[in-house]
């Protein structure tokens, strides 16, 4: 009886397995298929050969992604720590405040950054009133990175905070009892223990930053092509599905490999949390 019910229980995962084969695995097979074929379906390596041309774009995307991730980490870590130190009530309010912007369309929020950063925008008109010369901000790499940091910062704050909130306080106290001052406690105790949160935060910021296309179009003025822009253009404008699929494939492999490498190094620290 017990055996049969376990088998039955296992079977209820079957619809999901069918679903993931159909809608997770099969689509990826199509990406691979399109990458290595021409428009009429014959095998080719031409798409892959053409990728060399996009090396600078790949590098730029990766670098922007790294910078945005590091900035997010630097901003988010202290914030998550401070939040976790507050009383329960304040904590809840602050977490709510972090989450709230995510409920609004990121397209609109990015668009309103344009209004802030433009040469005749809100910041510059404010500066002009103070008698300071206008600063050119929009359409610079900085503006694109700012857009990434802004949009993905909550994805860094939340996982780090949720690990810190669950930290075993007796550990922290033990560390203090052993004579650690505040800085030592943070360095030797809190940072190592919040590593799982940091790792998942890095993933959740780096992946969307590298592959974004809307932010670079709006805040970069189209002059800093990121790899997402190139992919979008192949599908929505040039009707070159094959090249688009090839670029996507490389992007996917790059990201999955770097994530795997990162997880390997942090494996001993409890794995990922969401």
């Amino acid at each position: 009886m017990s055996n049969r019910s376990t088998l039955g229980a296992k079977l209820i995962a079957a619809p999901y397995i069918v679903w993931s084969v159909l809608f997770i695995i099969a689509p990826l097979i199509f990406v691979v298929y399109y990458s290595f074929t021409t428009v009429d379906g014959s095998f080719t390596l031409a798409n892959m050969a053409e990728l060399g041309k996009y090396a600078p774009t790949f590098l730029r995307s990766i670098w922007f992604g790294i910078v945005a991730t590091v900035i997010c980490l630097i901003i988010a870590f202290p914030l998550a720590y401070f939040i976790s130190q507050k009383t329960d009530k304040v904590q809840r309010t602050m977490v709510m405040l972090v989450m709230l912007p995510m409920w609004m369309s990121f397209l609109i929020r990015t668009y309103s950054w344009m209004a802030l950063l433009q040469d005749t925008g809100i910041i510059n008109s404010f500066l002009a009133k103070l008698g300071i010369d206008a600063v050119h901000m929009i359409n610079t790499p900085g503006a694109v990175i700012l857009g990434m940091v802004y949009n993905f910062l909550p994805f860094m704050i939340m996982p780090i905070y949720s690990v810190m909130a669950k930290l075993d306080h007796s550990m922290v106290e033990a560390c203090q009892d052993l004579g650690g001052n505040r800085l030592t406690v943070i360095r030797r105790c809190i940072i190592p223990m919040s590593m799982p949160g940091v790792v998942s935060g890095i993933t959740m910021v780096f992946v969307p930053s590298v592959s974004t296309f809307y932010i670079s179009q709006k805040l970069g003025g189209g002059s800093f092509d990121l790899i997402g822009d190139v992919i979008e253009r192949q599908f929505q404008q040039s009707y070159n599905y094959n090249l688009g699929a090839a670029i996507s494939l490389v992007l996917m492999v790059l990201i999955l490999v770097s994530m795997a490498v990162m997880n390997r190094f942090t494996e001993d620290e409890e794995g990922m949390v969401i």
Binding site: A13, P56, I75, D88, W103, S105, F235, Q236, S238, Y241
Partner: protein
């Protein structure tokens, strides 16, 4: 440290809320600008509530979010229960690895991979219109599933397995044991999973962008097409409303939770009270949904139409440019509503923002429309690819209003497939407040005095046309060397750091953000209304003349209604309303010869003939198109060499050997710079890892 811990969160929150503040303030702006505040007004809220498309999109978004999160929750919970029963081993880790894919994969890759699958499946069942609600539902369920599973699994692990067995021993059937014992204890995880799926689906743009189809537009997609055109503050108004309602909801929820916690203080928290809190959340979420839905449903109870006829009750699918039809704002004629009212035919209306997007969508095979309004060269291409149906002109008596000069044009020489809708030219717009002397040539767009203040077309065909005008090359040349020369000119424009824009041009020119921009003369008129400093010239090298025409697609399901629609669009008062709204020149005799027409004999729209050369676009061969888009990618990726900032125009056609593709180094200085940065970063990370490893070993030894 204390002070820092107080100030720091405030600073971060200021950063997070700055754009939201801007958006709330500007939703009350009296003008349509999103960067200059002209006075307080509620007009955008009024416009918003009159706009049916936005509400339909909002409605679609919520329906999709509810359906997809419900499906994902049920499927995901079942999957988690099954996975939990699996022993650790290759089967389990295999399933978990696959589960992680949608989370780890960039959204754009997930989006395009699903689109490729759907398009293929559509071809397989030879059903052209697969993209729509169904495909979006599948896509949303797929990317939500991992979040449900990963929320439920830990809860299952915490549940005592003996409980379910005990229940069975006491005579419960396995199924009811699950519902009575297991499900309540994993409920918090299930609910969290549901809420996460709901939120993700609500705000998803990238995956929806690639998997959406006709007639089913979600809010993020609607917003995206609007931010390509000109975001009017009514979108800000909508966001402000959403923001405030969520804020209020969260505050209430917080207070409620606070109260229940106060009540529980001292008492041991039971599963029951937890479940109770969870149920409250669900109730709260559905309440919000209801609050938003009720006015919507009221809005969609449409008045019954009066007319009869065999076409009554049928549906017509129309695919048009954004803001390319009179929509009833400010007491104009709402053309679509008028058509629906008069003929009892329901119109599903979607928009695109350039010919290539439209073509890709149609060619991709995921969608199906009856009416489409492409530009000239695209019509020729679609005719050559057998995508358009021949129009039965006897069903369109109003075709008589199209004068001879707009008939039988190069793209449709035999006049069988298209009915001209608007015509226009590309001109050079400049800001007289920034530019002293009126420009006469396209080369003004290369003038380094205006570095950083120059806008350029963000689509290859229009951008190349400007370079080709300067070089005096035919727009429709099939000569590879000609295209390479034009690309070189476009690359040299990078020295003035142009901003590549499509419809962002409106905002940027109106707010005085840029000095020069090439754009369509019709759009210039609406920009000038908002910024009188703007002026337009038709450069001496020549300009592009275009015709956008109404066509019927080959696979149209309602061809008769489509012809009815075309005839309706040509009715003098409808054509006039559209011409007034769109601001483009009209090829309709009763419009342009009507003295009451606002742009009657307008110098920009209807310039005297013969002052400058005009050329129109024709279809290019597939090879040339491929060359163009590849060269365009090069242009966009090009980084100018500061030591070689000279701009060379070669106005004469020279057939020198060096005009063929120059052997280019792919790795630019900028690219090497990134290589170095990334290299240093990786090296630092590696060094740190090695250092830790070494230290660990050292300590172990000690």
């Amino acid at each position: 440290m204390k002070i820092f811990s107080k100030i720091y969160p405030i600073l971060v929150f200021l950063f997070l809320y700055a754009p939201i503040l801007v958006l709330v303030i500007f939703s009350f702006n009296a003008s349509s600008s999103t960067s200059m505040f002209a006075g307080f007004s509620f007009q955008w809220y009024k416009t918003l509530f009159e706009d049916e498309t936005t509400f339909r999109a909002l409605y679609n978004t919520i329906i999709l979010a509810i359906c997809s999160s419900l499906v994902a929750t049920v499927l995901g919970t079942a999957a988690a229960v099954g996975i939990d029963k699996l022993k650790k081993g290759p089967a389990r880790s295999g399933i978990m690895a696959v589960t992680n894919i949608p989370m780890m994969n960039p959204e754009i890759v997930t989006g395009i991979s699903m689109m490729l699958l759907f398009v293929f499946a559509g071809r397989l069942v030879s059903k052209s219109a697969v993209l729509g609600f169904g495909t979006m539902l599948i896509a949303h369920v797929t990317f939500s599933l991992p979040y449900v599973i990963l929320n439920v699994l830990p809860k299952l692990r915490q549940t005592d397995r003996n409980l379910a067995e005990a229940a069975q021993d006491l005579g419960c059937k396995p199924v009811s044991a699950f519902f009575k014992v297991v499900l309540p204890s994993i409920m918090p995880g299930v609910i969290t999973g549901f809420i996460m799926s709901f939120t993700l689906s609500l705000d998803d743009f990238i995956i929806s962008y690639f998997t959406s189809g006709p007639g089913f537009q979600t809010l993020p997609i609607a917003i995206f097409s609007m931010t390509k055109k000109r975001v009017k503050p009514d979108m800000y108004a909508l966001s402000a409303i959403i923001f405030v309602s969520i804020l209020v909801l969260l505050i209430f929820y917080n207070i409620a939770q606070q109260k229940s916690e106060d009540r529980d203080r001292g008492k041991e928290k039971t599963t029951k009270s937890k479940t109770f809190g969870v149920i409250k959340t669900v109730v709260a979420v559905s309440l919000v949904a209801a609050v938003i839905l009720v006015p919507l449903i009221v809005k969609f109870v449409k008045p019954k139409t009066e007319s009869v006829g065999s076409l009554k009750g049928t549906t017509l699918y129309v695919y048009n440019w954004g803001e390319y039809i009179s929509d009833g704002a400010d007491d104009t004629v709402d053309v679509i509503a008028e058509f629906e009212k008069r003929f009892g035919i329901e119109v599903v209306y979607d928009t695109f923002d350039n010919n290539e997007t439209m073509y890709s969508k149609l060619k991709g095979g995921g969608v199906s429309y009856d009416i489409v309004i492409p530009s000239d060269y695209m019509i020729e291409r679609m005719i050559s690819e057998d995508m358009l149906a021949k129009i039965d002109y006897s069903n369109i008596p109003n075709y008589k209003y199209i004068p001879e000069q707009y008939r039988g044009l190069g793209h449709d020489p035999t006049d069988e497939y298209s009915v001209p809708y608007t015509v226009g030219m590309v001109g050079l717009i400049y800001n007289t407040a920034m530019v002293e002397e009126a420009p006469t040539s396209w080369t003004a767009l290369w003038n380094t005095d205006y570095t950083g203040n120059i806008l350029m077309f963000n689509n290859p065909r229009d951008a190349f046309a400007i370079a080709q005008s300067i070089l005096d090359i035919d727009y429709n040349t099939e000569n590879e060397a000609d295209w390479n020369r034009a690309a070189a000119v476009l690359k040299s424009q990078k020295n003035v750091s142009p901003t590549y824009v499509s419809d962002e041009v409106f905002n940027m020119m109106e707010s005085g953000e840029a000095a020069f921009a090439p754009y369509y003369a019709g759009d210039f008129l609406s920009m000038q209304e908002n910024n009188p400093d703007l002026a337009l010239v038709y450069p001496k090298e020549g300009v592009n003349f275009f015709v956008d025409s109404i066509c019927i697609l080959k696979d149209a399901k309602n061809k008769r209604a489509a012809e009815l629609f075309i005839n309706f669009m040509l009715e003098p008062e409808i054509a006039l309303a559209n011409a007034e709204y769109i601001c483009y020149a009209s090829p309709h005799t009763e419009v342009y010869s009507n003295p009451e027409y606002s742009y009657y004999q307008n110098e920009y729209l209807y310039p005297e003939e013969g002052q400058f050369k005009t050329q129109n676009f024709l279809n290019l061969s597939p090879e040339t198109l491929a060359l163009m888009s590849s060269l365009w990618d090069d242009v966009k990726n090009y980084v100018p060499d500061p030591n070689d900032a000279e701009i060379v125009f070669t106005p004469l056609k020279d057939t020198d050997t060096d005009t063929t593709a120059p052997a280019e180094t792919v790795m630019t200085a900028e690219a090497w710079q990134y290589v170095i940065y990334i290299g240093i970063f990786v090296a630092v990370c590696l060094a740190y890892v090695i250092f830790r490893y070494a230290r660990k070993k050292y300590r172990e030894n000690v």
